[in-house]
C-alpha cells in the first residue's frame, strides 16, 4: 500500500492546499495530512483548530487522514514507517526552500523521498499568510479557502472595525 505524508502548518488550510490533497489522494492509497508545529513558531490558529479545519475541508475524500506532530519530519516518517513526502510548489522561492529541505531530509534518511506537485495556476498566488492578512481587513475569502472554513477564519481573525 502506497502512503504519502503531506506536511505543513495549514494556518489555515487554503484551496491551494486542498487542491494538492485531492490530487495526491488520487495517486496514493492513503494521504496523511500532518500539521507540524513547534513551540518557537507562533501560529494564528491552534493545532486543534487547524486539524479541525482540515477535517472539515477534506470530509469528502475517503483516503485522507489528519494528524499532527511536533517532531522532526524525518522522525515522524520513520515512526510511521512512511517513505514519501508530498509538497506543493508555487514559485521559484518555494522551490529553493523546498529543495534544501528535500535534500536535508534525504541526507537524514536515504529511504525518504519528497515528491513535488505544481500548485494549480489559479492558486499560485495563494498562501495562508495572504488569507490571514485579507481576513484581518475583512477582505473577500471566497475561492481562497474552502467555503466551510471561511467562518472559522473570520471568527478568529475578526476584521478590524
Amino acid at each position: 500500500m502506497k502512503i504519502a505524508v503531506y506536511p505543513g502548518s495549514f494556518d489555515p488550510v487554503t484551496n491551494g492546499h486542498l487542491d494538492i490533497i485531492r490530487r495526491a489522494a488520487r495517486i496514493f492509497d492513503t494521504v496523511i495530512v500532518a500539521v507540524f508545529y513547534n513551540s518557537s513558531k507562533k501560529c494564528a490558529f491552534s493545532i486543534d483548530e487547524r486539524m479541525d479545519m482540515l477535517r472539515t475541508a477534506t470530509k469528502d475524500i475517503d483516503n485522507v487522514i489528519i494528524d499532527s506532530s511536533d517532531n522532526l519530519l524525518v522522525h515522524y516518517m520513520e515512526n510511521n514507517d512512511v517513505k514519501v513526502i508530498i509538497k506543493g510548489l508555487r514559485m521559484v522561492s518555494d522551490f529553493e526552500y523546498e529543495f534544501q529541505m528535500a535534500l536535508a531530509n534525504h541526507q537524514q534518511n536515504k529511504d525518504i523521498e519528497t515528491l513535488f506537485m505544481m500548485t494549480a495556476s489559479e492558486y499560485s498566488h495563494l498562501s495562508s499568510s495572504l488569507v490571514r492578512e485579507l481576513a484581518t481587513y475583512g477582505g473577500n475569502l471566497i475561492g481562497l479557502v474552502p467555503n466551510d472554513v471561511i467562518p472559522y477564519v473570520y471568527e478568529k481573525l475578526q476584521p478590524k472595525k
Copy 2:
C-alpha cells in the same frame, strides 16, 4: 498497480537520470523510461542507441521498462493508460520550464499528474549537453554517465584527434 512514466531525450542518459530512475523505481511498481523524439529536434544519438544505453544502465533494476515515442506526452499517457509523469528538477530554470509543461499537460488531461523529484546534489550540474561537450573534447566522463555507457559516448562523439 502504480505506474509512472519518466520521459526525456536521454541523449545520452546521465547518472543524474539514472539516480531519478532508481529512486522512482522504489516508489512505483513500474517505471516506464520513455525516449521522446520528434523529427524537428536533432539529437546526437539515434533512438535505438539511446534506448540501448538506457537498457544497459538500468539492467539491474527489475521494474523498469524502456520505451520510445514520437507522440505528444499526454497522448502517450492516454494510450498506455498511465496517469503519473515523473520529472527530475535540478535548478530554477528547470523548474520554470517544467512548471509550464506540467500545467500544459494537466490542462490537456485533468487526470494526468506530474510528480517532481529533486536531482541529488552531486548531479545538479549534470546534463546530457555537458556530457556531449566534454566527450567531444576528450574530457573525463567517470561519475557523469553510467560506466557501461561511457564507451558508447566516446565512440559516437569521438574526441578531436
Copy 3:
C-alpha cells in the same frame, strides 16, 4: 491622449496576449498591438497571417490598432511619437529578459518607459511555442488561443495524420 504599444511576435496570438491587450485597453486611450519581425528569425505564420489573427481576436475592442514593423522597437516608438511600451510577464525567466530589454530601450531613449502587467495566472503556462507544438500534434487548443483563431492555427500547422 495616452497611447501604449504592445509589441511581440504573436506567432500566433494566445489568450494570454489577448488578456493583456484587453486589460491595457482599459488603462490607455489607444493600444497599438505591433507585430515585430526580422528576417533572421523564422516564424510559423506570415506577418499578414499574424496581423489577421490579431484583428480577428481583438475585433470587439474599440481602441486597439494592429500594426507591424521590422524596425528597432525604440525607433518605432520615436517614429510614432509613443512613449509607453506594455509587456506581459509570466515567469522569472520572462522577467530577466524583459528587464534587460527595458533597460536597453530606456538607455537608447530616456523618454521611453516600459510598463509590465502580470499575465493572469490561468495563462502563466501559455506561450505561442506551446500552442504551435500542441497544434502540430493535434492537441486541444480550446482556452489557449481565441476561438476564432483556432481554425487558422490548425490549418497552418496541420496535425500529423
Copy 4:
C-alpha cells in the same frame, strides 16, 4: 484623467523610489504616493516623518500627492476610485512577491490593475533597509536617498558611538 497609486512603506524614501515616482509622473496625470502602515509592522520612522520626507523629496514634481492609509490597498483604491497601482521591480525576489500581490489584488477587484516599472539599474541594490543599516553605522548615504532627506535619516538613526 489617469491616476495611479504608488504604495509602499517608504521607511525612508530612497532614490530608487523617487526615480519610480518621477517616471510615473510623466506617464500619469496624477500619482498618489501612499504610505501604507499597519500596527503589526514596526517601522523606524513615524507616518508623519515618512510623509514629510516624501513631500520634501517630491516638492519639484507638480502632479504628485502624498497620502497615507492603514487600509487594505484594494479598499483604498476603491474608496478613492483609482484603478491603477504602480510598483517598482528590482529583482527576482521582488517579482515573485509582487506577482502574488498583484494577483491577489486583481482577485479582490477585477478592475484594479498593477503596472510594474523596472527600477533604474543604478538603484537595483537599494532598499530602505539597506539605507537604515548604513545610517546606523554612519555609512555614506549620498546617492542613496534624496539629499534633502539625508539629515532626517541621520538624525533618527544616529550612528553608533
Copy 5:
C-alpha cells in the same frame, strides 16, 4: 601579499563554510574569517563560541586568521586595509541578496571587491539554521558540521527530552 576577508555569522560554522575557507586559502596568501555581529540580531552561539568553533574547524589550515567585528563590513575592510571579500553562493536567493550587498559595499568604497565562490554541491542545502534546527531535534549532524564542532552544537542546543 593577497589577503581576503570571509565574513559571516557562523552560527555555527558548517562544512559548507569550511569548504569555502579551505578553497579560498589555496588562492589567497591569507584568509581572515571574520565573525560579524550586531546587537539587534540574536544568535544561538556567543561571539567567543563561534570564534572557538571556527578555530577548531580550521586548525589544520595555516594561512587562516579568525577575527570578529561589530563594524560595517566596509569599515572593517578599510581599517584592516584589505580589498577583497570572499562569499559563498549556494542558490539563487543567496545570489540576489549577495548581489545587493556587493553593489552596496562597492558603492561605499570603489576599491573593495567581492569575489564569489560556488558552494560545493554536496553542501548546497546546508545552512547554519538547518544545523540548529536539526540539533534541536536531535537530528544527525555528521557531514554537516566539522566533526570537532559537533559536540559544541549538541551541548548548546541540547535535544528536547
Copy 6:
C-alpha cells in the same frame, strides 16, 4: 604570482566585460583574457577581430594578456598552469549556467576554482548579443562598448541602409 583567466566569446567585447577585466586586474598580478571558440558555434566576428578589439579596449591596462583557444577550458588551464577562472555575473540566469560550469570544471580538476564578480549595475542589461542587435539596426552604442571598439562593430554589422 597570482594569475587568473577570464574566458569568453567576446563577440564583441562590451563595457561590461571591460569593467570585469579592469577590476580583476587590480586583484590579480596577471589576467589572461582568453577568447574561446569552437567550430560548431557561429560568431559574428573572427577570432582575430575579437582579439584585436580586446587589445584595443585593454591597451591601458598593463597586466592583461589577450589569448585564444579552441580547447576545453579546463585543459587550457592545465596547459598554462593557471588555477583561477574569473567570470562576471549579471543575473539569475547567468548564475545558474555559470554555477553548472563551475561545478563541471571543478569536477574535471579539483584544483581549478572559479571566482565570480558582480557586473557593475550600469552594465547589468548589457550583452554582446544586445550590442550586435542594436548595431544591426543602427542603434546607439556609446556607453555599451569601448569607444575605440565602436567603429569595428559598425563596420562589421553595417546598419541596414
